[in-house]
Symmetry: C2
Subunit: 405 residues, 2 copies
């Protein structure tokens, strides 16, 4: 049984987009006990539709937190040993300041209104910044580990770049160094589904008394397909018909249609449309190599043997990623899943390659699992075992100078 | 320069859904000259968004027909040698009877109205039936070949099952024996985009003076992603920004977004929404093994060594496909493309496996091409060469009894 806590941060926070939040709330949960020297804390970063409720039960809940199979007594992230913190990010819709929160500007104008579309677009880097402020407030100077899957993995990665001396271990699961054009394309379909829904009302649906339900259902349906795999859908639904025969109409005929519609509808009841838009943009924007591409131009020019422009691009990207990792100080564990086609194993391997080439300590696991991108939420022994082992192994202080040569 | 022709069929045609069209039109084009014994005719079957305009130019056109790189003098389908016919299918929106045609029932009621949503759902088998009637009218008893890509390949395949003695060669390109759950899922997202657009007006948008433009744009965007590949999109757009920097808003930021929106908008201007719905359903319904699954149950039971239920299912599907092909008499050429993930090479190989196991003559080519599913529309020498060779090689009469043993 867990109870969320909320901290209010009464200080301006300037975002990457150059806009400033005058103040903000962060809602979070903790599991386990912080030890005396505050050295056993693990931060969990959530993904697109996640929340601070990663483990345990809230009063009256039938379902446990989203990563309850990972976090708990004797589990891979062992709460008998570690103090685990999971925080809802700003811009989300589960309690931290976001589009559904009251916009202080509106109070000044005499009428309290939610931010809605006026909430600024936030980035992975912004989230990491707010999480660092939470760390300060909790008195945690150095995290034993920061762990995340998918978009959560991006936050863990960003931590290791922005606050290299504030974490000892970084666990990046089912993630990517940046979104591909196809990833962005799927996000854009999801966004257009919401933006083009007449009930969206330019984001002011709360004031208008409407809700872009149809848009949110479509957005989730297309997203959901990318989380699963063709084979997993075949095993689960195949071409099974709902009524056993073709109906020759547009009602549900195949079981897979029924499943997708149900998932979309359920999601639309619990999620805010402005938040969905903003989360997909944060994904698109993530690119730790930004600002490092130019640093690396010279070294690429030197690689005279590269003929092909595609491999020249790949080489440039690897160099930029190496430059981004130059000052990181933690140990990394990178995990991918064989059937994940949203963020395929090759994308995790780009992270591993750049870390290896920079002489950083990194372990990598490509886990055979049938659930596609969703695999990171499943209880897979090899996966759980590796996380547990990585978190409990002693921290190795490398001879960095030597390692880089 | 080509001119389409229209034949009116003033006879009732009963569809698989058990509804009857009292009469219908077929619009088609021909290229080349039919020889005296009518033995040089090749039928081209179009895909989801295709039309009868496969080659050449219409008066005033800037762009040639959709398969102009395949069909023409000295091309893979050589119009100096062959008489080529391409017909627009019923249910489409390019001239053959479909949802935008006048519903004769409405004339009886005194006011001419388009069919709209009252147009019956049609299947691949229905199309093949109407194409057979066109063949009769053209006096073509036996086609030299029937050729199609994607949904067109399904029609070619169905011809070989329904009219085994009316074609000598069957060319099935970038196709599948039936849609997977994931294929259906993507189609369902496209359909829901249209169906949930308030301007759809339950399909009576023509009468209402509206048009489900937003829904059609979304449907095409999601479809378009599945026609391309992650790598092709990377090569074409990567993460290039439209204005060179992040704008932190929902206008176009990445080039890939701009491209997708443009494709969607252009498509929505030239295509009918009811037709799009109906075409995706025809795809979903296609399954030549229906009615053969039970035939094959016994032979599967006999395969006692199969432990795993998934491979048992695969085995059952192979047996059903073998049963479907039992009476085919043509030579097959099956072509897939390495990067096609909509109808992956494995799906083509299912067709090949079933044909091989039934002792049917089949050639198979998996063409290395970077364009994903769209590859079948590209001028790729190995692909074009194989089509040309297959179409001009002498027909081999196999000793069928021997081949089946």
């Amino acid at each position: 049984m867990v109870t969320p806590q909320t901290y209010h941060f009464d200080e301006p926070f300037t975002l990457e987009c150059n806009r400033t939040l005058p103040a903000f709330d962060l809602v979070f949960e903790t599991y386990g006990t912080l030890n005396a020297d505050k050295s056993n804390a693990i931060l969990i970063c959530h993904a697109l539709s996640g929340s601070h409720h990663a483990a345990g039960y809230h009063e009256g809940d039938k379902k446990a937190g989203w990563w309850d199979n990972m976090i708990g007594p004797s589990k891979a992230i062992d709460t008998d040993e570690f103090f685990v913190v999971c925080v809802n990010n700003i811009g989300s819709c589960f309690g931290s300041t976001g589009p559904t929160s009251i916009n202080p500007d509106s109070i000044d104008k005499g009428e309290a209104q939610p931010y809605g579309p006026d909430f600024p677009l936030v980035t992975i880097k912004d989230w990491v910044g707010t999480q660092a402020l939470l760390s300060d407030r909790l008195g945690i100077e150095v995290w034993h580990a920061i762990v995340g899957g998918s978009m959560g993995g991006m936050q863990a990665l960003q931590w290791s770049l922005d606050y290299p001396n504030r974490l000892k271990r970084c666990v990046v699961i089912a993630s990517t160094p940046k979104l591909s054009a196809q990833n962005i394309a799927f996000n854009e379909v999801a966004r257009q589904s919401i933006l083009s829904d007449p009930d969206f009302k330019e984001g002011r649906y709360l004031q208008a008394g409407t809700y872009p339900r149809r848009g949110l259902i479509l957005a989730r349906m297309v997203g959901h397909i990318t989380y699963l795999t063709d084979d997993a859908m075949k095993a689960k639904f195949g071409r099974d018909l709902k009524s056993g025969k073709f109906m020759y109409g547009y009602d549900v005929e195949f079981q897979v249609e029924s499943y997708l519609r149900y998932q979309g509808e359920r999601f639309s009841e619990n999620f805010d449309a402005n938040t969905y838009l903003l989360m997909t943009k944060a994904l698109d924007y993530f690119d730790p190599t930004r600002g490092h591409i130019e640093d690396s131009e010279t070294s690429v020019e030197a690689d005279t043997e590269i003929q092909n422009s595609q491999s020249q691009n790949d080489q440039r990207e690897l160099s930029a990623l190496k430059a981004a990792f130059a000052h990181s100080e933690c140990q990394y564990l990178v995990v991918s899943f064989t059937t994940d086609w949203r963020f395929a194993p090759e994308r995790s391997q780009e992270i591993v390659d750049a870390l290896m080439a920079t002489g950083k300590p990194v372990s990598y696991l490509n886990v055979d699992a049938p659930h596609g991108h969703d695999s990171f939420l499943f209880d897979i022994p090899r996966y759980m075992g590796a996380i547990k082992g990585f978190l409990t192994a002693p921290f190795i202080t490398a001879n960095r100078t030597g390692a880089r040569l």
